[in-house]
């Protein structure tokens, strides 16, 4: 194994905090909770219930009772951390590092606790008021449109992912093949007209709660088939976008697509259909690791194709409104991954710079090794905390240098990208929208 100071040091939170004093404590906790996980105590869970922050899934025939869940919680600066599990069994769904944090009541207030020491006060994010309501057809609204972190409405528009069908899933992916909202999809997995009607109704009802949502995220499994690459998938997005145009009454819909890599004319087509942002995620920059981690993307239609798709889309969506995501840590997964975190940093930051120069916003997430994924089966683990600190700083510096902020994927509308949290201090300097725009002076 090549020499790696990051692996050798294996810095914990306190050591990382001392080594990187300018790195905000709350964002460092966000990274550390993502790596170690958080178990909520019964007392804190009750408090969360009182504050309307716990989602109790309605029982479904023939399905095991769902567990209560939370949509993360905030630190005092509104940095969000997720990975809060209600019990050991739920906690075991993912491979974690070290010992988990607990979320507990301390003197009547909710605190994140590390080894018995309260370290950061935490605040729950209440569920939106539309949860529990139903469409005219009787579909639970949250089955149609899930409320992600506080400001984002999430919409799944395909009940399948072709990669799983062809047994070539991305190796970190633990999405179950079938999506929620039964009855809204055809045999082929495409939205039915009822499904579309449910979407229109659910979004309109969700937005009756003022001051809650600032954007939508529409995602789906990948479907490369059709006359043109990903023709079927594009067609579904267009159908949904046209439905949403009716809801908003405007040509442009405040939604971004987390979708496959469309050819230039196809990304232009969904932009024309109203999408405001587009995210064809490359996931891994290193060519060899890309092939190994994302075999279906390699097959349909290769790394260069996925890179060029994002770059070409900037023309239609505007600088800063196209993002590509890196699953940070996946590029290290054995046996074909990069040898050391240092090598991984160099490679992934090279990719981030490449995209930023072309107006595509690079974003990263912490590798999530969840049951159901191949990495879980192979017992892969995420690299140490220090790798993520240096990666987040690197991404933030690249975005700062290129005056890029991810309007569609910021700390509030996605809340899983640490560089977006760091980027809050640069928010007023970014130039997004049409190329060549001067920074917003306000």
């Amino acid at each position: 194994m090549a020499e790696s100071a990051i692996l050798k040091d294996g810095l914990g939170f306190q050591q990382a905090a001392e080594k990187y004093p300018a790195f905000p404590r709350t964002v460092l906790r966000k990274l550390d909770t993502a790596l170690r996980g958080v178990l909520i105590s019964p007392a804190a869970l009750d408090r969360a219930r009182q504050e309307g922050a716990v989602y109790e899934p309605a029982p479904e025939e023939g399905a095991p009772p769902g567990k209560p869940s939370l949509r993360g919680a905030f630190f005092s600066d509104a940095t969000l951390f997720r990975d809060i599990e209600v019990d050991e069994q739920a906690f075991a769904r993912r491979i974690k590092q070290g010992s988990p944090y607990t979320l507990d009541l301390v003197e009547g207030k909710t605190w994140l606790v590390d080894g018995g020491v309260p370290v950061e006060q935490a605040f729950f994010s209440p569920l939106p008021s539309y949860y529990g309501k139903r469409t005219q057809r009787g579909t639970l609204l949250e089955k149609v449109v899930g409320a992600g972190p506080a400001n984002c409405l999430n919409l799944n528009i395909l009940s399948y992912c072709n990669s799983w069908k062809e047994h070539l899933p991305c190796k970190y992916c633990d999405y179950p093949p079938s999506f929620r909202s039964k009855g809204s999809f055809t045999k082929e997995g495409w939205l039915t007209q009822e499904g579309l009607d449910d979407i229109a109704e659910a979004v309109a009802m969700a937005l009756q709660e003022v001051g809650h949502f600032t954007c939508m995220r529409i995602q789906s499994g990948s479907d490369p088939h059709g006359e043109r690459p990903f023709e079927n998938e594009v067609a579904q997005y267009v159908r949904v976008l046209e439905t949403l145009q009716g809801v908003f009454g405007t040509p442009k819909v405040p939604a971004r697509l987390v979708a496959s890599a469309f050819p230039k004319d196809q990304s232009a087509r969904v932009a024309k259909a109203g999408a405001s942002g587009y995210e064809p995620h490359l996931e891994v920059w290193d060519p060899q690791a890309f092939e190994w981690v994302c075999p279906a993307k390699a097959r349909y239609f290769g790394r260069d194709y996925w890179i060029q798709s994002a770059v070409d889309a900037v023309e239609s969506f505007g600088r800063g409104n196209v993002c590509t995501q890196f699953v940070a840590g996946a590029e290290l997964a054995g046996p074909h991954g990069l040898p050391t975190p240092e090598a991984a940093l160099e490679s992934t930051l090279e990719g981030a710079e490449y995209f930023a120069q072309r107006g595509v916003v690079p974003v990263s997430i912490v590798l999530w090794v969840g049951r159901g994924s191949i990495f879980f089966r192979d017992k892969q683990t995420a690299p140490p905390l220090e790798y993520y600190v240096r990666l987040a700083q690197g991404f933030r510096d690249i975005r700062r240098r290129h005056c890029l902020a991810s309007d569609i994927n910021d700390y509030r509308s996605c809340a899983v990208h640490p560089e977006a949290d760091l980027g809050r201090l640069d928010a007023h300097r970014a130039v997004n929208g049409k190329p060549g725009e001067v920074p917003c002076p306000h």
Partner: protein, 164 residues
Amino acid sequence: MADFPKEFLELVSDPDSVKMVATTDKHGAPHVVVKGSLRVEGQHLAFGEVIEDSDSGHYLVRSIWFNRPVAVNVTKGDKSWQVKGRTYKCLIAGPLLKDFLLRERAKRGPDADLNAVWLIEPAEIRDESLEVRRQSLEARRPLFGRHLDRASIMAEARQLAAKA
């Protein structure tokens, strides 16, 4: 630098507008004072500093000594202008000091004092009225931090707004 925009001149000469000067101490901690006497004086903004041993007096000296920026904000209702500049001069004698002192005495009586008159050289003058800021920000970044229930986004909200 300064050729002051017309709207700014109107706002700053309006006796009911609020004029504020923001500085920092040696640790960078912020400080603000309301300066009713602030006015345009040729190419500069001028205001009186009443108290010698005041925080803002010390911080203004620090700004002219060590080239630290000073911000002036002129606001009335939702009209607001932000000026970023540097301290150009501290007057402790001369006609301008005399004029500001006499105005201070006309306002507060014959025992009024006035430590100095400060001149600010504007580097940036921006209209930061609420609506101007909103449009400028949202023109450049239409997708950032805008709640979807706003009239400019949500059809239904717009219909409600039309009825209201």
